[in-house]
């Protein structure tokens, strides 16, 4: 606190004043008598008991009620205290624990995948070879499966082959045909579909071979059946 002329007056007698202090006090008092009058007022004021009275208790009580009405307490919820700890309002945002935890979590989230990737890259050559072998086996299996599918497709195509293309029959089939007395000139049933090989569309079993015959060669009982029907 700055030292002003009043402190000089209270502390010093007139004869003890320095030339600078006398110049400073020139506006207030020029003679010793005026100086002493000034001094007696200031000393009197300073020595008086200016103890401040205490306000009534009722005044404070009224103010407490007013404060409670103006600033109602926020509900005592558990998350209020938790938020006050992890996100205190009086701290700057970069010093709030909530933000620090979030930043750390983000860092971990971004770093861990890279670490795992590095682990697989840095594994031993043996493991690498095993993985390569395993990969080849898979490829072989895939090719086998695909070969099977191709073979099956070829079988299907064989069923649909034109019978006229079968110029040479296997030895077993040749013997079978000879035993039945069937020559190669005998018309081969035009059975393109397994369900109906008969030229008239009559369904017969695959084992039996149907031949078209003239009406005169038909058995008599067939004619009898036709007669009875009329």
């Amino acid at each position: 606190m700055e030292r002003d002329v009043f402190e000089i007056v209270v502390e010093k007698e007139f004869i003890a004043l320095s030339p600078e202090e006398r110049i400073e006090l020139k506006n207030y008092c020029s003679t010793e008598e005026e100086y002493n009058q000034l001094k007696q007022v200031l000393v009197g004021v300073n020595t008086m008991d200016w103890t401040n009275p205490e306000p009534k208790v009722e005044t404070k009580e009224k103010l407490d009620v007013l404060f409670a009405q103006t600033h109602p307490k926020a509900g005592g919820m558990w998350y209020n205290s938790a938020l006050a700890v992890i996100a205190p309002k009086d701290k700057p945002i970069y010093r709030q624990p909530l933000l620090q935890i979030a930043a750390l979590a983000l860092l971990v989230f971004l770093t861990v995948p890279f670490l795992q990737q590095n682990d697989t890259d840095d594994s031993s050559p043996l493991v690498a070879e095993n993985s390569i072998d395993a990969g080849n086996e898979d490829v072989v299996k895939n090719t086998d499966v695909s070969g099977g599918i191709e073979e099956k497709k070829e079988d299907d195509l064989a069923d649909t082959k034109d019978p006229q293309d079968e110029v040479s029959l296997p030895a077993v089939m040749t013997g079978f045909v000879a035993s039945r007395g069937i020559s190669n000139e005998v018309p081969v049933p035009a059975a393109e579909s397994p369900t109906s090989n008969h030229p008239d569309g009559v369904f017969i079993s695959e084992e039996s071979i149907a031949y078209s015959l003239p009406a005169s060669d038909q058995p008599d009982d067939v004619m009898d059946l036709l007669t009875t029907s009329f």
């Binding site: 700055e2 009043f6 009197g44 004021v45 020595t47 306000p55 404060f67 103006t70």
Partner: protein, 186 residues
């Protein structure tokens, strides 16, 4: 915590901060109001209530860049000025009775409690005789203990004006109390 920090906390609804501000300033403000408002203790109590009610209701009125002490005294000073205006209007509309005469009994009670009652009585009488702008500066400087710079801030006047008013008030009081010599009596 400083007064300014406490006021920021009061603005956020901190009851303990308000209690601390009240503990620091309720007494000095009550004494200030009593001195400024014709020794009327009841009025002083009401004014203390009103000024702290303002702090509760509108803490944002306080500018944290200012010193709280000078701000609160400037608010108190403005309240006293408004009261002077009210009293002036009442005096003009009343039937000639000065309402302050009724306070003379209170004055007597207060004066009876002081040690150097005769000097004090004369001093306070002289201070009352002084016009408000000079006595106000004197009280703020010598009774409330504010520096010249703080008084200038409270009253929103220059340092030079404060010194000038202090000079006038001190000269006036010294002339009024020249028959008393408290220094010699001790």
């Amino acid at each position: 915590m400083s007064d300014e920090e406490l006021m920021i906390a009061v603005g956020k609804g901190d009851k303990r901060a308000f209690d601390e501000i009240y503990a620091r300033y309720s007494g000095p403000l009550l004494g200030y109001f009593i001195r400024m408002l014709w020794k009327d203790r009841e009025k002083g109590e009401d004014f203390v209530h009103d000024i702290f009610a303002k702090i509760i209701r509108k803490p944002e009125l306080f500018d944290p860049t200012r010193k709280f002490k000078t701000w609160i005294y400037s608010v108190a000073n403005n309240m006293c000025k408004n009261e002077y205006k009210k009293q002036e209007v009442r005096k003009n509309t009343s039937n000639g009775l000065d309402s302050h005469y009724a306070l003379s009994d209170t004055n007597a009670n207060v004066l009876g409690e002081v040690q150097d009652s005769q000097f004090r009585s004369e001093f306070e009488q002289s201070l009352q005789d002084l016009d408000e702008k000079h006595s106000g500066v004197f009280k703020l400087r010598h009774i409330d203990g504010l520096s010249i710079k703080e008084i200038a801030d409270v009253l929103k006047i220059s340092d030079g004006t404060v010194k000038s008013r202090l000079f006038y008030a001190t000269k006036y009081l010294a002339a009024s109390l020249k028959d008393f010599n408290p220094v010699m009596n001790r």
